[in-house]
Symmetry: D2
Subunit: 491 residues, 4 copies
């Protein structure tokens, strides 16, 4: 239902530097920012190797550090700029206890503490209002940019979607969500009722690419219906959600309602096995997801991504607008949206238009300075260029644009840095057994495949789509109603 993320790569430990102290300086910093934003303990602009920020854990209503610290490097220059207090196996006890204390009927339900539905409506109104204030939305947008590089516009959009979400659950809307139903029974005094019931203790694990939107939407949904969540966000970006937790408390969230943890995957797995939450919601790589499904006996819900496609139909219109949309869908957030366009099927009628040249122009306008293109957090430059080269070996394939590393940057080599890239591959080749897997391999970066189809080849396009396993988003660009209904679905 909601935007979900692709490749959390939960277990990656990037340049971790252990460090046992830190609580004093963190206290110091808390005070320092108190004058500007009453909830914040960091300054989004000042994070740097010289003034590293610290991210804490929250359990049983108390913020705290840990015995080991993980250091995150600035994706734009490699400086160690955030220290994350990571819980290790020795520190899991309070988290296990906290989850276990929550009963199966949750913190509230339609029969228990109904006033908490109103409380959450109030919290949502307040947070929605706070996020509507420019200095607060700017704070979060900048903080997102620092750890998950994307353009200011994209980062701000993430904050605004989050703001709208809170507004949507203002007032009585949380209790309306808990609406039950009744149906008359077979005889006097009998009635069938359906209630919206919590799981009780739950866990939420979220990835790096939308550091605010994904955890907030999943966390609040769980809280609204009476669950007690343990939240873990990818440590590379968890500073964003740590600050949001402080805003939530400021707006009235009871401090014991959520636990917030930083840890490596192995430790988190141990907590889940011991605390045994009644549901775990995991957004991220399918490799981790499969392991979780087995370990948790299926008590897990997975949000994943896919290889997403777009078809341009035979009716050419508004080429400028179509080019703009295609550029955004493929390269915004450097292609690190789970819904990013991975392949474009273009009807031959578009060949005569300036669409491709416009696409190229838009892609080349993207630059590191404003983060309209930026570091790729889960694929290296080498791996992406290698993929491009393999595709170019396919007969008839050609590079449309990009295909080179970014220049003049200080992005650390553990991250990827390439120009927005498109490779043309002939449709007949895509369908060949040897090529199909290669062409449809998902690359979580600024990369797409483009192909063209003739009127007579529509069935080949459909076959290509049919063979894809998952596609979170898909689009058909055509004003011709009959094209979609009679042709796409009925050939």
């Amino acid at each position: 239902m909601y935007r979900s993320a692709v490749a959390a790569r939960l277990l990656r430990g990037v340049a971790a530097i252990h460090n046992g102290s830190g609580s004093l300086s963190s206290l110091h910093r808390s005070r320092r920012f108190a004058h500007s934003l009453p909830f914040a303990t960091v300054d989004a602009e000042e994070l740097s190797g010289d003034r590293p920020a610290e991210v804490q854990n929250l359990v049983q209503g108390k913020w705290g550090g840990s015995s080991s610290w993980n250091t995150i490097v600035d994706p734009l220059n490699g400086e160690p700029f955030i220290r994350v207090a990571e819980v290790d196996e020795k520190g899991i006890k309070p988290f296990v206890e906290s989850l276990s204390k929550c009963p199966k009927h949750g913190l509230h339900n339609p029969f228990k503490s109904p006033e908490r539905y109103l409380l959450y409506g109030n919290i949502s109104s307040k947070v929605g209002h706070m996020l509507s204030l420019p200095k607060v939305s700017d704070f979060f947008a900048r903080l997102i940019q620092r750890v998950s590089p994307k353009s200011y516009q994209q980062a701000l959009a993430e904050v605004q979607v989050t703001q709208k979400f809170f507004e949507n659950f203002s007032g009585d809307q949380v209790r309306f969500l808990a609406r039950s139903f009744g149906v008359p029974g077979n005889h006097l005094g009998q009635q069938s009722n359906g209630f919206r019931w919590p799981y009780g203790p739950v866990a939420i694990i979220t990835p790096f690419n939308f550091p605010l939107e994904i955890p907030v939407l999943q966390l609040m949904g769980a809280l609204y219906m009476g669950n007690k969540p343990l939240l873990k966000v990818d440590s590379k970006v968890s500073i964003v959600m740590e600050q949001m937790m402080r805003l939530l408390h400021y707006c009235g969230l009871p401090e014991e309602d959520v636990d917030f943890i930083n840890s490596d995957g192995k430790t988190m797995n141990k907590i889940l096995m011991e605390a045994n939450p009644r549901m775990t919601l995991f957004t991220g790589s399918s490799r981790v997801a499969e392991k979780l499904a087995v370990d948790l006996n299926g008590r897990v819900k997975l949000e994943d991504a896919g290889f997403d496609w777009k078809i341009l139909g035979p009716d050419v219109c508004e080429a400028d607008y179509v080019a703009w949309v295609c550029d955004q869908d493929a390269y915004a957030c450097s292609g690190q949206k789970c819904s990013a366009q991975s392949i474009l099927f273009m009807h031959e009628n578009w060949a005569a238009t300036p669409l491709l040249s416009k696409l190229k122009e838009l892609a080349e306008r993207r630059k590191l300075e404003d983060l309209t293109v930026g570091p790729v957090l889960t694929v290296t430059t080498e791996a992406m260029l290698d993929h491009v080269n393999k595709l170019l070996n396919i007969p008839g394939a050609k590079l449309l644009f990009g295909g080179k590393a970014l220049e003049n940057h200080s992005i650390p080599s553990i991250y990827g840095a390439v120009k927005p890239t498109a490779v043309y591959v002939p449709l007949e080749e895509i369908l060949k057994a040897g090529n199909y897997e290669l062409v449809t391999k998902e690359v979580f970066g600024p990369f797409q495949v483009v192909t063209e189809y003739k009127e007579s080849q529509l069935s080949m396009v459909l076959e290509a789509l049919e063979r894809m396993h998952a596609h979170l988003t898909a689009a058909v660009v055509s004003n011709d109603v009959l094209f979609l209904q009679a042709r796409l679905l009925h050939i």
Copy 2:
């Protein structure tokens, strides 16, 4: 929500001949048809001046005649072929008593007799099945044709819509309709609940043009939710619903749940004033509706009709199909549907196509033999031709086809009998103050106005539409999404 009727002209007493006897022969007839359809007391084919049928009243679970009888003439030949037992003011007491006995909380509700929701699910399953049997659907289709002349296909369609309605409320669907909801309250033990509650005693008054579909849908909807209805159908066609009542009883309807009455309007008004039902649903002419609204202090829901339009957009396509649809919409049931097309706005691009000649061809194929055109029950031939002539006096107006009385028929002169007719009137003339009222006068017969608009005249079309008071149906024929959105609504 459902198809509704236009011009019931409830109070018309057509060729009424009083006759005080009749119960014996009715009993006789009951027996005679028992072998063919177990519920029926008449034979749809055999109704005639020689063998007139009788229609009874039902009150407090008992069928019966009355002291006065209204004779209905065959719309195709003027023979008196149905005798309706009409209740007069001296006979209203049992009807008033029966309604008054029903409490405001109805015959059932979510707290009372919930097993009756299941009973009605069962009745619906059974009636749905009965109507799916060819000999039963044929019986009702033919009976409809005898009293409300329309083609067999149109009459059968009415039966089938009714059948689907019963199927839709089979099984548990009636109790699902009574679904309630609950929302958590402000504190422990508090909850807001919404229940679907009956009115209790209600009245339903329906017109001549859909003798089965309109009363069945309105009656069953009322019964499902626990109301006790008094049903009155236009006497000209009430034989259809009288037979349906017998089918309902055969399928398990408790005999005291509905009262069925034949009477003139004045008597019905007296019953409503005395029994004071908590809601009256009236389908029919706006003149009667307005009187009822005053008499019943607003405790009335009205279903009326209107002057319905269709616009053909600039994108010409499938002219044959469009012609077929326009012909059906204007002339099926001899234009006596409340949703019949009254005016057609045609973009100039259609002028070059054979649309108008095809329309003419289709209209002229209609004939009395198969009732694809037939008697008009509420407007005389003279009145319709007079209206045509007035329109033809408008500068630029011309007769496209029709405009003459039917020939070689025995339709009694109290009814109308004209050929399917279309009159072209220039758009500029339609908008003139003197003409607008005339052009948009609703004629409940096989008649439509056609006009044409140029690309530059779209705003005049919109002005014409804007000035119409009511339109139950409206259509825009265009595959061009932008035509509707950007042009029709935003000029």
Copy 3:
């Protein structure tokens, strides 16, 4: 659905004093309050005979006065403290034109200007936030108290319900309200769709007793779905809504979306006849409602009140709490809620409890100083005491408490001023033909009837309820599920 009002007595012209000027001073005042509340043009505390406030009209986006002024007197001391610019028949043209300009498809709909759904979500978020600020809620609560005297708690509750309403329609909730549906059709390319469509031009007329809540909820509901409303609030209290209109503009409401008018009933009627809005929503007295229903050909929705009852079941529990609820339901807002408790049926088991003495104690604690009892705006002292005396003439009737005029006050004699009153009438007497009408006469003031029933008399209670025409609210106080289901509904 929402709380609605009983007795608007729209046409009452109280002490009208005409005055042709006023725009200058109004401008002056605007400036004066700009420092405290940026939208307000009056100060709720300072309204007085010395410093009367002015209420303007809004049409086609412009605020303005009128050629005649109606002066409102302070209900607590009779001083002329508000001057209302009332439009007379010569001034109606701009209002008629403004309504007529709005097309039948409204200012927006699912196909037109969908961005306006978001605009209204934003407006709602902002107004919700403004009303959550203590100085704003206090401003409206005090302003309500000045014109429709009720306790501060009751007035503040009205503001808070209004605030919640805005919060409920924050963010995307307005467009969710415009959710459409589609059902697959019979064959390829066919689909049935249902859209939520506006009426276009509409009128809203609201009463005196909830000067903020009723007009806001009705106005915003109309605006959300794309209608253009003309709003008229009872002039005695229209200052509250006039200030709310200014807050709405401050929060982004386009100034041409709503027209706001002050006038007498005759003028309003003339506007409705000329502008012919497609729907009028009227909350108020049934006398006016019936006239409107006729004049507007049924294009009117009515919200009225009724004679509301409460039954105490046989299981006595929590007598203190029950007494508190009964006192609030009967006497809060001096009984001028449309849902005010008018009669209390008490099971004999309660006779042995201190319920009645507690009721008396609570009623006698109410005092004019804090407006827990106050002026009655539509019934005079004399009329209420006369009604009490008539009831006391019924055999066995007795005064439980109250029954006297308030003392030591300066409430003007056009308003009523009596102590909270309860009269006991024996159940057998209530049912007698001569008494029933008298006992169940609605008195829109601090007055209720109390009676008692024995176990064996439950059927008499039910008969009494059955004979009442309308009851907006009703309550059964019992934890015994079987009492309600098996006994109340099935005797």
Copy 4:
């Protein structure tokens, strides 16, 4: 949502006897029953060792045998009475091909072949009607009894629930299920739509205990929304569903819409791995479920059972009725419902009532002759008695009734045969670490644990419930609203 089953024990190969022929005799039998039920190929009464029935497979629209046959023994006397054509690994190709042919957009969807929604409405009406005929419902009830022994009343109830399900999806209800929604977008021409979309190829695997209801409800739900299912029912009972498939075809189900397979678990697993359905719905044992979850990468939905409880509150009432319900919930279908009551917590107030003696009386009235108690298909007599004895070793435990093998029967020893049994265990003992696992072990047979709690021990009851992992059903018997809300949930 619907009743689901517990312990399919899919892979059990009971007394399998291979036999390569059979198609001729099956053809012969088809003819023989044609005169009585037009769809049936077996006679429920005549199945026996002498006249064994045959169960076929259906793939790509054709019924057929297989190279190997599995013989099912009569659970009441051990005679081999059904021969099931089981597909082995060599025969899977047509099933894999058939599933693979179905595209991801299914056999129909809101844009493709919408007439199929109506087709399924029609099929449902017809099957619902057929099942309402006594000879058809009797046929299925008896057939169920032969393979999954339960009382006639219980077997007939299964048929009737199935009938109601079909009635619920009669008429237009299937297309109503495919209702879509739309929400206005951000700007002109934009709209968010939600459609109900099929998975395309799917698999359904169902257990032995409800041989008709579970597969029909799951199969039809999948078909309605456009999926193409491969259905596999536990071979011990698949004859019931094989006959139902023939009834479905008779009522209009296209023969290529469903494939029906008999096989062992290993073969089915291979088909799933090769055909790769987009979703598999599995009802049965958690052991198999966990393997499937891993093999199918989580593309599986599981329906399982649990250890179900009932609490009797402090307010004693209607002991006879409560005893009857407890007896039904624990012992109907010989305790082989997934929702069967496994433990009863009785408030001390019930100790003084005849509840336990009535429970005993009702249990002892159950007898093999009418199958009110019968064979247990997944637990042997020895295993059940062994469990009873282990419980009786707990201090304070005692046998309330049962605890012995059935006598004078010919149930084969591979099945279980014990009297309805109840063991009392003291509450304190249940909570002890050593005992808890034993007491809450699910036994899929006519067995329950009973315990008692004092007013002061309610928290111990809650702790016991909290520690249970899953409970499909749970009941609190009390008319005291406060007991549930204030005490059960808030201690």
